[in-house]
Amino acid sequence: MSARHLLGIAELEVADIERLLRLTDSFVEVGRRRMPKVPALQGRTVTWLFYESSTRTRLSFEQAAKRLSADTLNFSVPTSSVNKGESLRDTVATIEAMGVDAIVVRHASSGVPHQVARWVSGSVINAGDGWHEHPTQALLDCYTIRDHLGGLDGLHIAIVGDINHSRVARSDVWAFTKLGAEVTLVAPPTLLPPSVEGWPVRVDHDLDAVLPTVDVVYLLRMQRERMLEALLPSLREYTACYGLTRRRVDLLRDKAIVMHPGPMNRGVEIAADVADLPRSVVIDQVRNGVAVRMAVLYDLLGSGADLSRDLPGRDAR
């Protein structure tokens, strides 16, 4: 990893992504062992700073840290001094004073993990910041695609839904294209960013036309709160135009897979029975998430990639 942090996919080199995916292979194997735990990060402490609700990401990070034998400090914003008006900076300083090696940050505002990274001496991992990035989700998506289809190079991937408000979409666009896939964004104009200039993607508004050409269809969660912003006439209309219904699944190629970052709104962006088809790999995504996060934690805290320069003239050992 370029530095001691994982803040976004955009700043990663292809070699970084590939190293993390290779490392994930090893941690998937650890997960299959009778005793699926290694002592690699004994004595290291990881803490969570989650200013937004999350179940799977937080649990997944916690499982990853524990399988690496790291100690975890649980910090839950709703029951903390944040409610008493403590500033982010003071909260971070307090946590750091207790001695943590990595802070996993989720916040509704873009850029918060970057700011935290400037304040602390430990590693910072972005677990989702506003509409900006969610790098570990993109890594587990890449891993899952590679696992099912052998690699991303030359694949055509459609990302469907609320692109504008989605950090998953942004991280995925960078990750998929860096690994050689072609990406088409499919969404109504109101749910696309004002400009996709500079994004290495194509844009389409006709899902039926795109589906027969893709290897992966990646559905985003339709955030119901967007209805209030009058971006869509109704959820039913969204489903009619952009939902992955049974009829649309039949347009897909035989080997094409269906992905979703969760939590799914069954009946909105994905039909209930489609979510349970063999080609839907949603549960694999969650399973691989633990191994990917082990790889990220190990890469930052354990692999010592940033320590080599501090080791002059040791003896042959």
């Binding site: 090893s26 009778r34 735990k37 690699a40 692999s303 010592g304 320590l307 003896d315 050992r317």
Partner: protein
């Protein structure tokens, strides 16, 4: 694993320059056959024996030993490979990355596990391997076969089967493959 890993990772990286050949390919083959016989003798056959090669240097020796055992005894024992990176005691002190995915084909509970490596030096790789093995069950016994024992142990670990005892200086590097065993140094040119 030991030697190769030291060669390939900074700050130990560099180019191996051989100075002396100690064993040639025939010597290595004969040593593997002798060790295979010793494994059979010690365990009264191959019942419950599992060979586990340590990544990366031990794997080819484990394969060669399995082949020898199959020729001597008619049947090859189960063969696994183990990468001990996540169990090492120097994580955080130097770059430690796995070089391959571990593959243990059977539950090790009740088995006799014969660890196979190319060179034993400080013993720390073997300590990590002993730790890792227990993630796969509780073996009845663990034995250790190495092509070269070069001394300089830092832990109370001793191999059961040795291809060649080779006194060395600490700063020398031993390269053991099926093609032969050489002593040399790392050149000062770092990659």
């Amino acid at each position: 694993m030991a030697e190769r890993e030291r060669r390939s990772t900074p700050p130990f990286g560099g180019v191996f320059v051989a100075r002396t050949q100690v064993l040639d390919a025939d010597d290595v083959r004969r040593a593997i056959w002798r060790m295979a016989h010793e494994v059979l003798e010690r365990n009264h056959g191959l019942d419950d024996v599992v060979l586990v090669g340590l990544q990366t240097g031990g794997v080819t020796f484990a394969e060669a030993m399995a082949e020898a055992l199959a020729k001597i005894d008619g049947e090859a024992p189960p063969l696994g490979t183990l990468d001990v990176a996540f169990h090492r005691d120097d994580i955080g002190l130097r770059p430690v990355l796995p070089s391959a995915v571990t593959e243990i084909p059977v539950d090790l509970t009740g088995r006799v596990v014969v660890l196979v490596d190319d060179v034993i030096f400080t013993g720390r790789t073997i300590r990590a391997a002993l730790d890792a093995v227990h993630s796969y069950g509780r073996p009845r016994a663990v034995q250790l076969a190495v092509m070269v024992d070069r001394g300089h142990r830092e832990l109370p670990i001793r191999p059961d089967f040795v291809g060649k005892n080779l006194p060395t200086r600490r700063d020398e590097v031993v390269n053991a493959t099926l093609e032969g065993v050489e002593i040399g140094e790392m050149s000062k040119e770092h990659r």
